[in-house]
Symmetry: C2
Subunit: 280 residues, 2 copies
Amino acid sequence: MNQVAQNPIGIFDSGLGGISVVRAMMELLPDERLIYFGDTARVPYGSKSNETVRRFSRQIVNFLLDHQVKMVVVACNTASAIALDDLRGRWNLPIIGVIEPGATAAVNKSPSNRVGVIGTTSTIHSGAYEKALLTRNPNLNIQSKACPLLVPLVEEGWPEDDVLTGVLERYLSGYKQSPVESLILGCTHYPYLKEAIQRVIGPDVNLIDSGEETARMVQDILIEKSMAHTPVGQDAARKHHFYVSDFPQRFQETASRFLGRPLENLFRIELEVLESYSVG
Amino acid sequence: MNQVAQNPIGIFDSGLGGISVVRAMMELLPDERLIYFGDTARVPYGSKSNETVRRFSRQIVNFLLDHQVKMVVVACNTASAIALDDLRGRWNLPIIGVIEPGATAAVNKSPSNRVGVIGTTSTIHSGAYEKALLTRNPNLNIQSKACPLLVPLVEEGWPEDDVLTGVLERYLSGYKQSPVESLILGCTHYPYLKEAIQRVIGPDVNLIDSGEETARMVQDILIEKSMAHTPVGQDAARKHHFYVSDFPQRFQETASRFLGRPLENLFRIELEVLESYSVG
């Protein structure tokens, strides 16, 4: 038996958005144990310098490695775009970002090469999805749109209504004039708006949920490397742990809403403690 | 003649919101020359540690002092709450924040002690307005409400319509159930929504525009200290200068919309250059 297979999978995000990726992984890989780190004290990463995002990412991977993770999922679009190469160069375990799986799925689901990407201003401005998409297919026609209101709308947790529909109609109007075959939800908050987005953009567009695609890629790697967890007891896979660097207002409510069930095993880790981890 | 009176007034903000304060000062004090600094590369300050906000604020005041400013206006709610005492302890020129003038005006316009405050999540969470208000009148009944969607809504520059009205009705519903006499617009972006806010909250509530109140306080200090500028030539007061640490997307459009006219004399200052200013 592969001893490493019994170890947990580490996942991190700048905040709580990455919980959508946790949720997708819990559904697809129910036997795996997950260690989540949300850097809620230092969110958002999108407005920070590249070197700072890389430094924070290294600190968090060190923290996850102390928990003997067998794989790291970077469930943050900014860190996936900026820190992934740096992390892969430093450590020898599988490190997966959310951009590559989403880009691969969009290419596969767009036979006429018409792809849309929506995300935060910083993700769209970074061009990370365009780069990943064009690497896979240089003939793609890509339409990107920054949607800065969607993250605060998801976090408010308002019921789906005229406000949400009005905002989405404004952001997605370009895709009605010039249709795409697939639309990448390029922000970990957006899966929570999937039904409303599908309703506004129409049923013919394939919505690409980066979290789901990332979970599938993790599954492939676990099988390929014989690292999938073998359940030894009924509760073995249920002991997920959640760490955050700060408890923002309404944290429990927001996090539990994102996860779809109450958060258990939740801990706060002081930034100072994190800082004291040596960076490899 | 007071030689210092011919010097400009320095104003800074973490980004572009402070331009609403510039606009109020240009209207009330047309003979004064203004030097604006917007720290667009490091916005937002609300998610940064207190020590970092103080350090950035000191760097910017040093930069403004190199331009011989006679007074500094901290046109940023976060820096006003966190850095004002530190700055006042280090330099001996008048340094004015946006919280105190707004709190004073609200107290004066609320004879039955019922005051509302709206702002970003970090401003409301900091309790800075509550503290400033209760120092002035401990019997106040204060209702605060964080409105995280309003800044991105203002920055999108969408026309006033059902989306904006729907968002405001949701945020302001508490004030309809439990009315206030005055409502502090505790974010420099909110004056751009003044008409819509007044329409939704009703005509009986006094809206307190912190930018306008701050301009009035600046005027009082200029008169009290005999520091008001005496126009010596037609264009003397028109040579305002605008500095930013980064040009974000759509910067010119947003900034000109905020100012109500095209921005002239606009410069970008590298953060590295700022870093090299000695901090007093």
